[in-house]
Amino acid sequence: MSDLMQTFPIRKIIEHGPGVKSFYFDQTFEVQAGQFINLWIPGVDEKPFSVSHIQDGQIEISVKAYGPFTHRLMQSQPGQLLGIRGPFGHGFTLKDRGLLIGGGIGIAPLRLLARQLHERGLHFVSLLGAVSRHEIIFADEFERLGTCYFTTDDGSKGKKGFVTEDVAAIIETEQIKQVYAAGPEIMFVKLKAILDTLHVPYEFCMERYMKCGIGICGQCVLDDSGIRVCVEGPVLNQDDLQDVTELGMMHRNASGKRSI
């Protein structure tokens, strides 16, 4: 694979839940869980997405309909050509006794992480949360690979509430040595507070508005550290995040101006 733009046909599309679809492409590169690619709909736009799975020579991208780009993507058909650049950035480091914490579509990169941990025989536990039962995607896959805890806002699966509420307890019971998280930024804010207190090392898969993916435009840079999410991230650990002052706050949109 490379940073140069190349186009590939969509091999298969599978719908996973309300507004979530997976797109499959021939695998032409190796990828660490947490790394992302830039997906180009020719003539439309280009946006970053995590690789959520690799199997049978295909890579899988799992997308949640959100705004204009992702809605357009939902309408695409197998055989259609999309541009792929990447993989970009640094992924998760694979350690034993991990706790994987995922919220919403953030579960996508954790799915590949779970697979890679499992393949290396590393033990882990998952804690997945969403608004409701239907939005917890890939639940069965995580369950097949190890212990799973669930939380939903409406209590329709697992415990009613947020993933952050039970983290301390799970770390204790499951003798967790490493936390991996991906999901909405507000989740990171709460997790960071808990984990810093418990002194458990962690890696968060961050999202920021991206333009170049190759570390030059400055669009994805974090205050105050100056770290580029597209190069040094998207997976950042407790040390990388030490000097980040903007966690959960406004960050930059396409103009570079701060917004929520």
Binding site: M5, T7, E46, K211, I214, G215, G218, G226, R252, R258
Partner: protein
Amino acid sequence: MTRFLGLKPDSLLVLASGILGLTASSLKRVIDFGAGAVTTKSFNLEVRKGHKAPSIIPFKNGVLNAVGLSNPGVQEMALEIEKFKKRCDAPLFASVFGRTIEEYGEVIQQLIDRVQPDLIEINVSCPNVRSEFGTPFGDSLDDTARVTEIAKKYAGKIPVSVKLGPHGPGIGRLARVCEDNGADAITAINTVGPGMLIDINVMKPVLSNKTGGVSGPAILPIAVKSVYEVFEHVSIPIIGTGGVTGTEDAIQMILAGATLIGIGTAVYYEGIEVFAKINRGITEYLQKHGRTSIEEIRGKAHE
């Protein structure tokens, strides 16, 4: 230590405009990695989203970009510059542009009402704005003269560098016009072209803007030649920019006549480490050639 318009940057390498130049944190990090000075992304009065992605795309020998001068506007950038100045002593160059000649004056006014950059760089040469504003001001001797004049008027005692491209009526003549109208320095060059990349499977241009300026290794000889030509036409200092990714490239720029060296796309090819690497390389080069200072070889290729 280098001397440039009364400034004493720790290195003669300057971060070029548009690269990692949106925020104080980003600019500060580049200084920590060895840059002597940093240039902000070009900004104007408005908040501009720029072109849709892909807007920055590597090809085999360089990078094509059409970010479309996206920027958060002068107010937000002034805040970032202020933040930078609080955290860091290194010189900061503010790059500005206008959709009209008058806007150059206004944006400088609004900027220096809020914060004092060490230099104001006047971007008259971005090839991407052609379709939007007609040809760049930098393609016309008259427009370049007027923009320079107005920039100088509003900049007051802050020095002004005009950033030129290799196109138009000849960069030497353009530089002369800038000098005649009070410019304190010339930045040469902006991106080249523009160029286009077409994906042969979907049969469409890759950049959303279709065309974009070429930067990186592909343009080094054009940049070196531009600096050489500017050096023959003016006596104000030059920030030699374009395709520098290693020590040898940087030395070529100096020999052609550059006082400072702009580093942009090299950050993609070599990482932010490129600043420290070239700093080290220049020191070694001077030692090897028995020189005590870079001044001794500046413009030597003209002899």
